[in-house]
Subunit: 135 residues, 6 copies
């Protein structure tokens, strides 16, 4: 079994805000991440697929194909978007890196037809990143 990874980058805005809490509670929890006009990141996404090598191609999954799946099902929904307003699969969800990673996992899971989705890693900054393995 091998693990193959495709890396993509997208630029998006977000605001961390829990609608069920008061403004004061939101500011206490989220501080400057709760700025009303939002702020943004160049998110780096790594999608990791596990599987066996197909002897005909030498691939687990053709990375050109994985790239298309990721761009079609994730990147076009998040790149140059405000994640709180423009991205259907994040509606009514606090768009922390953790929740975005879980959302991306759900968008991709049944689209991977060779091998299986093993992990979604999401870098919010060069110092902060999260990983979700469907566990």
């Amino acid at each position: 079994m091998l693990y193959v990874t495709r890396r993509e980058v997208f630029s998006a805005s977000h605001r961390l805000f829990n609608k069920q809490l008061s403004d004061a509670e939101n500011e206490e929890i989220f501080d400057k991440c709760s700025n009303p006009h939002g702020h943004g990141h160049n998110y780096v996404l790594e999608v990791i697929v596990s599987g066996e090598i197909n002897p005909k191609t030498g691939y687990v999954i053709d990375l050109k194909k994985l790239k298309r799946i990721v761009r079609e099902n994730v990147i076009k929904k998040v790149d140059h978007k405000h994640l709180n307003y423009d991205t259907g699969f994040l509606k009514n969800i606090i768009p922390t890196a953790e929740n975005i990673a879980v959302g991306i996992w759900n968008e991709l899971y049944d689209k991977i037809t060779e091998g299986r989705l093993f992990s979604v890693k999401l870098y919010e900054t060069e110092n902060n990143y999260v990983e979700y393995r469907g566990e």
Copy 2:
């Protein structure tokens, strides 16, 4: 003469939009960068100061001091902000990387008291960056 550089990172939103043009013209020029809710980046800023070495310290300018000047005069005005709405020195300016770099130059120029400001480099993504040298 030497050139000394301090690198800082900030996370911000922006929307490219020229108020003097129609929505159709804005979309034609700025395309997805003109998305009404904005999008964002982890901007990487490099501030380069030129000058001679002070023999007492071995420094052109103490980089700890340069870091404080950059954070006080730039970073706290742009980090976790929406550049179109929250940043005074960018009011009524289309916040392209070019215009942000010129704005940062103007915020910093007379705050550098040892050596002189030589260049402002601003990376918007890993593939796009601009430089302004006050020319």
Copy 3:
């Protein structure tokens, strides 16, 4: 379950030397890493915490809080220090990357109060790094 990572950098000196061995044995084992005056690195530290998402915040652990825990309990003890002389938790330990990683794990383990410490990764150079998972 998710994995969240905070990255920090610190600059330190060390000397690889086993006091229970002769100078000749030390030089044979550690070679230039045993230079008496020491040498140094910009160490890159990644602290990985695993846990479930708190629905109130969308966080496993607030990365601003994790940053404070890592800086308070590790970075202030190792940054701009000589690890053989200045760092209590490395006293009488050969400060290889392996031993430093285990020491950092021990300093952090019971300070992580949301989620649990999963891994400590330590990059000594761009070509050499180690990981400890408490196994």
Copy 4:
């Protein structure tokens, strides 16, 4: 138990081509990667060894020794080579990143005499990489 990693870089050419298929089938599967004259990459290789710390040295395995093992058994066979023609351990194998990683694992496995080989990671580009753990 710890995991220690040595990173090496090599520059090589390859052509993706399955001799048992027609030219048309090869072009359909491999597209521009099947260009007859080949193309190339700066491959980044990470070799990860797991094991316990030797109390005499503080090492799992001396990374200077691991570097020599990797250079002797892998790098000198692949660096500045065409992988389809010049590299014995890849003869008659489609040199995808997956197959190269498995080949490197096999070249290294019994050469690691302290600790045991845990993983081979191979970056073909900054956006595509694979990992093999002997599973």
Copy 5:
């Protein structure tokens, strides 16, 4: 005046060989870079354009447009190619990084219609790069 940069990556093979010299002379000069089957790199290209800001757009040149110019005039001629055989503008030229950079300058110079081409930087590896400014 500002300087704006677009970065692109391409994967190519090359062989350093001067047809006017003997095989022995070639091997003495180019050593392993003269391996008959060639070797390859992930070349990183930076194209830098200088000019004044257009007040209507805030751009020196729209980086989306610069990206198209670079891809159309350079990347499609060199990516996934063998530079000695497949790239017209390098025919009968020893494809050192220096000569490739000059060739790319010549392909691009009169295609840049806003601002003017200021510099072509070409990274052959993470340790070796060249720059040409048309001087």
Copy 6:
């Protein structure tokens, strides 16, 4: 004319301390950089040579040769050393990045026999670097 760059990395300790000042003055100026036991960095050095392309080789200077010159004249004097005690060309000099860069320029200047030394860039951390061009 072209500019060709060779990048090297070295790991060293230093202490910022001016012998002609009191301990209190040193601490005020250099703060934690004046810690008596020193601290260290993975310094990244870029040596840039300018010159014309030699038509016989396609090189300004063979980068393999430049690598040997830099390693022989600089790296072996600073790598795995304490710059205050072990490095002859820095004796009695406060080893700031600025002074180290000037020292490296002086060690290299007349050793470059093809093209001429154009610039020495020295990264002390990922956020701080200096450049000296002999001006």
